[in-house]
Symmetry: C2
Subunit: 406 residues, 2 copies
């Protein structure tokens, strides 16, 4: 994930151009003018997010990474940001900053979640002054999935082991369960008095009060690293999918509203595109097991899912040879691009061969299924060996948090 | 507060009748058909609360107190209940039950709060199996009054000393700060998903989400004593002013909705009338310092406030002699009745002398101001001697709660 040189940017620009050329489903955002963190937002035209939602482009900041670009940034998977410069300032000046994310511990760490984890780990690696805050949303898991706190507690250990296996440095990480972290709930309660129904409606549309509260709790998660107990105000980066931007906007508004009392700096964000689901849907979601790959599933069953995946292939081999396939529509290509083709050249080759009519879907899927199987076998082995470290990290974090701010 | 005999009921009935006869401001509930815990609900006709809100009368349960009636019940100040029989069953069968209340630690323990405390302490005294749960609403104090958690922490100690001075048995009491009690917040979050905006709107009207959340937190406070950590489901009594009934209804609905998961028994409640403010308003409120008496104020200044209080007196002494005063409209009489005339005979005498044209307002106020001054001097001395006990109770409670249910 490190040491890539800037010429990879050519690849990035190349993909972007093709995106626009080939993409036939540029219907914009499904629910017009609204990103929906709880729905099935499909973002087909990411340019609209810049023009309509004020998400800034990453390109102008590229030189500031000093050549250490992540796979996501190089490939245009991370496509936008808000105040990312603030984080890069902290890196340059060797000042403390935080990277914040979370997971709902419902048993599966799927590839969408992995993308957030990858970003988090990458930014942690950029500076010794970076601390990762990771929230285990066990109360949400109870509310949404009926999972008892005890059940999700078990799953949480595995989720943490997953992140450790992906490369998190546990020495600069605080992992906590929402059900145990009163500081987050306290902030949520305070924020609940600072927002009006109209503000919430403008950001999220008309929702049940429970979803509004869940948004306020997430704002608490994001701003907690800036409390005095954690060294006070500092830049905080939140890597998210584009559909989560409403939470970022709300939290930035709240940070401004409570600046006088808490000194909050509005959080920064970086946005990744959503990986297609294996059935061709626009967002891989935990809700549909057959169309989602997770880090926990049996490697050979994952390989089978890949073989059954939706592609951008033509009706006949003859046609595909003649006019080429459509990688931009293909869930298989997304898996190469987002996760499994670690070398840029390899991803580019898959893409070119597809559009060039050289690569046939059957072979392409077979090739990927081997990669996926191998990846999962290695990952799961690594994770198994890190279960004890995960427990220790959870325990250590709990002690740290408990000792604070009574 | 104990050992009163049943003939006091005559006094009760008497007052009730006069209430209806003399009361000229029987305009019902100000905001039609809605009790408002956050507004200035004025309840002039308590009968409507029985017929329209389904609050049950206390009278049928009187024999079940075995002659040990509180001052509030004897005098019809406690005028209604929901499922109070469940608490009396627990008393009779020597089964555990809880009495739950709370305070916003904004510095003043006023006479309205004292009424709730009196009820709480009375029901604690009815059985060795009664445990009091007392919530210090410090997050609300921050939200509503801008009080930092540190400031309200200091005030909370004094508030707890106030209750100890009023007679709370600390051995069977758990006192906690909302800002530290994750179990309450966890319940509030869970409940937030079980209610719809329509349910909340039906109970409270259209409100800001922050007030809805504060209602859900109060539901968490009320139901926490039934969690497994506290011995599981049990009857819980909440003594409140009539204006707080919406919280009780919401909590009873939630208890039913979550019975399967938690085994909750719907909480019981007992309602007291609201004491008039010294300026003649219908509810003594912290918002108006000049028209409110608190347990913390300088005794001689309190005496002065009494002397300036709104009475039910006539324009001239001559008129008052001729047709009598109107105790039912008088803030001074309320102070006798609710708090300072400890003997029923004495309260009855003040009332009769007023309507009989024998008692003039100036003398009546002077008489009361002496009582109030003496009461506050004694109370404050007692409280001072209990500050250390209050700190210990808070500390012990915190340890108990922390050790639970991680």
């Amino acid at each position: 994930m490190e040491g890539f040189v800037d010429d990879s940017l050519e690849f990035r620009a190349d993909v972007r151009e093709r995106d626009l050329t080939h993409s036939s489903h540029s219907i914009g955002i499904v629910e017009k003018d609204r990103l929906d963190p709880w729905g099935e937002t499909s973002v087909a035209n990411y340019d609209r997010l810049h023009s309509e939602f004020g998400i800034d482009r990453i390109e102008p900041l590229i030189p500031r990474f000093h050549g250490k670009l992540s796979l996501h940034i190089r490939r245009g998977i991370d496509f936008g940001q808000r105040d990312l410069g603030r984080i890069l300032d902290a890196v340059d000046n060797n000042k403390p900053f935080a990277v914040m994310s979370g997971i709902k511990p419902t048993g599966v760490f799927h590839l969408g979640t992995k993308m957030t984890a990858d970003d988090m780990i990458y930014f942690q690696s950029l500076s010794k002054k970076a601390t990762v805050f990771y929230a285990i949303a066990d109360v949400e898991a109870y509310n949404d999935n009926g999972l008892s706190l005890k059940e999700s507690s078990k799953i949480a250990v595995q989720n943490v082991a997953d992140i450790l296996a992906l490369g998190l440095d546990p020495e600069r990480a605080v992992v906590y369960k929402q059900s145990q972290e009163i500081k987050v709930m306290r902030l949520a309660t305070i924020f609940s008095r600072g927002v009006t129904n109209n503000m919430l409606k403008a950001i999220y549309g008309e929702r049940q009060v429970g979803l509004y509260l869940s948004a306020l709790i997430q704002a608490g998660d994001i701003l907690m690293p800036q409390l005095a107990e954690f060294g006070g105000p500092k830049p905080v980066l939140v890597p998210v999918g584009a559909d989560q931007d409403p939470h970022i906007r709300l939290t930035r508004d709240l940070a401004s509203a409570y600046r006088e009392d808490f000194g909050f700096i509005p959080p920064s964000s970086i946005y990744h595109k959503l990986i297609k689901s294996l059935d061709g849907g626009t967002k891989m979601s935990k809700r549909s097991a057959s169309s989602t790959l997770t880090l926990s599933e049996e490697p050979s069953s994952a390989a089978k899912k890949v073989m059954a995946g939706f592609t951008g292939g033509r009706s006949t081999i003859e046609e595909q040879r003649r006019i080429g396939g459509e990688a931009d529509k293909c869930s298989i290509y997304d898996l190469y691009l987002f996760h499994f083709a670690l070398e840029d050249d390899y991803a580019k080759r898959v893409y070119d061969e597809c559009y060039g009519g050289i690569r046939m879907c059957g072979d392409c899927k077979k090739e990927l299924s081997v990669l996926v199987k191998k990846y999962l076998e290695d990952h799961q082995k690594k994770r198994e060996s890190l279960m004890k470290d995960a427990e220790e990290l959870l325990e250590r974090s709990r002690k740290t948090l408990d000792s604070m701010a009574r």
